[in-house]
Symmetry: C2
Subunit: 242 residues, 2 copies
């Protein structure tokens, strides 16, 4: 059974409220960086892996995508995602998705791949599902953030001021367990080199890497996002199938 | 005037003895990783940027390179580098090198690019000097290591045990000043994304990234190299000119 924290009632209620607030790391750091990496969407067949509430899928349709297939493990999230003809939802864990070869012009994924244990298989499948010249754009937690076994990185003084971020265990790839609203959220730490080499091994040519900071609006509305300049939470990749 | 710590008498004597000991981070971490990234050297015209004592240049000739041009800022280091017909030495800072377009099949650099202020210009020149299909292989200090402004990363307890490595200022690229045998050694911190995107911008396609750990021999002879698994000191890139 794949982990599905997003259908945990406690987590789901917290997460739904958080995301609908519009004041999150996603809104001001990750999503602006992800959208900046997207190609011209006009007429594209898109796969969104871990589409959640379908907000990005909808935005891509509004920007001209011909059709978006949104896949997510959480039935609760899909139940409130926008139902329009240009979006098809699939309720399944990413590891169980199957498509014909060369089905998509663009595959996107927002902060979902760090939940997947077998990254090499994931990249092999994406490379298969993309048409030649097709694009992969994804965000994932930065290896600097996932390295330490307890993922408890910020070291603070007695007044709660952040002194620095603690790195350890960088070379020990694999499972990390952390507390995020609920206990025992499982993520997978991978080195930057592993993330990059895994794409290249399957014929995905790196076009751009982004280690984003907050937008100016984010710094105003969420001052703690200044910390993104001290230690990045996310890393994003754009690659093209040769 | 470019910084030239390697001709500082104190630094030079220390460094010459260190490197001739054969018991260094270079011997067990960086050089094995660099050599593993080199292409078949048979018949190649090679440029070694920051060749130092010429040890790598000599090894490349022994492995079949047709000719190696070794460039270094340090006259003291070049003065004891091996003088053989297949190696030409140039005494100049990297920033002042000039070659005809498409002069080399391979450009290598070992732990020198973190001394260069203008990375984009460096990549533009390398892309110009390489023949189409030619290869760039270089190592540099890992951004995790150069991020914190004082580059003083390992946090220890009172007994001197390493607790974790401190990251900070990751997004603040630019100059770092550190003490390494002598005061005020100037290096430049760049994000992983900047290192990668700078190559791509000039038509250098990423083929592989390495974040090396110690060889088994290194762990025996220099037990502290276990720390490379906790926090990488180096990152290496292999790219091909399209």
């Amino acid at each position: 059974m794949r982990q599905n924290i997003y259908d945990d009632p406690t987590f789901f209620e917290y997460y739904k409220e958080l995301r609908s607030s519009g004041i999150t790391f996603n809104d001001f750091v990750e999503q602006p960086a992800l959208k900046a990496l997207l190609p011209d969407l006009q007429g594209l067949q898109v796969l969104d892996m871990g589409c959640g509430f379908g907000k990005l899928a909808l935005a891509m349709v509004e920007q001209g995508a011909d059709h978006v297939t949104g896949a997510d493990i959480s039935s609760k999230m899909l139940s409130i995602a926008p139902k329009i003809p240009q979006i098809t939802y699939i309720h399944a864990p990413m590891e169980e998705l199957e498509f014909e070869a060369e089905s998509f012009d663009l595959i996107v994924s927002s902060l979902a791949f760090h939940y997947v244990a077998d990254y090499d298989r994931l990249m092999a499948q994406i490379a298969k599902w993309l048409r030649p010249g097709g694009t992969l754009v994804f965000s994932t937690e930065h290896p600097i953030t996932t390295a330490k076994l307890d993922m408890d990185g910020w070291i603070e003084d007695e007044q709660g001021n952040k002194l620095h971020y603690a790195i350890d265990n960088y070379g020990e790839e694999g499972q990390r367990s952390t507390h995020w609203v609920v206990d025992n959220v499982i993520k997978y730490h991978r080195k930057v080199s592993t993330l990059v080499n895994g794409m290249i091994a399957h014929g995905l040519m790196i076009q751009q890497i982004t280690e984003p900071e907050s937008t100016p609006e984010g710094l105003e509305k969420m001052p703690k996002l200044e910390q993104e300049r001290r230690k990045p939470s996310f890393i994003l990749f754009k690659a093209v199938k040769l």
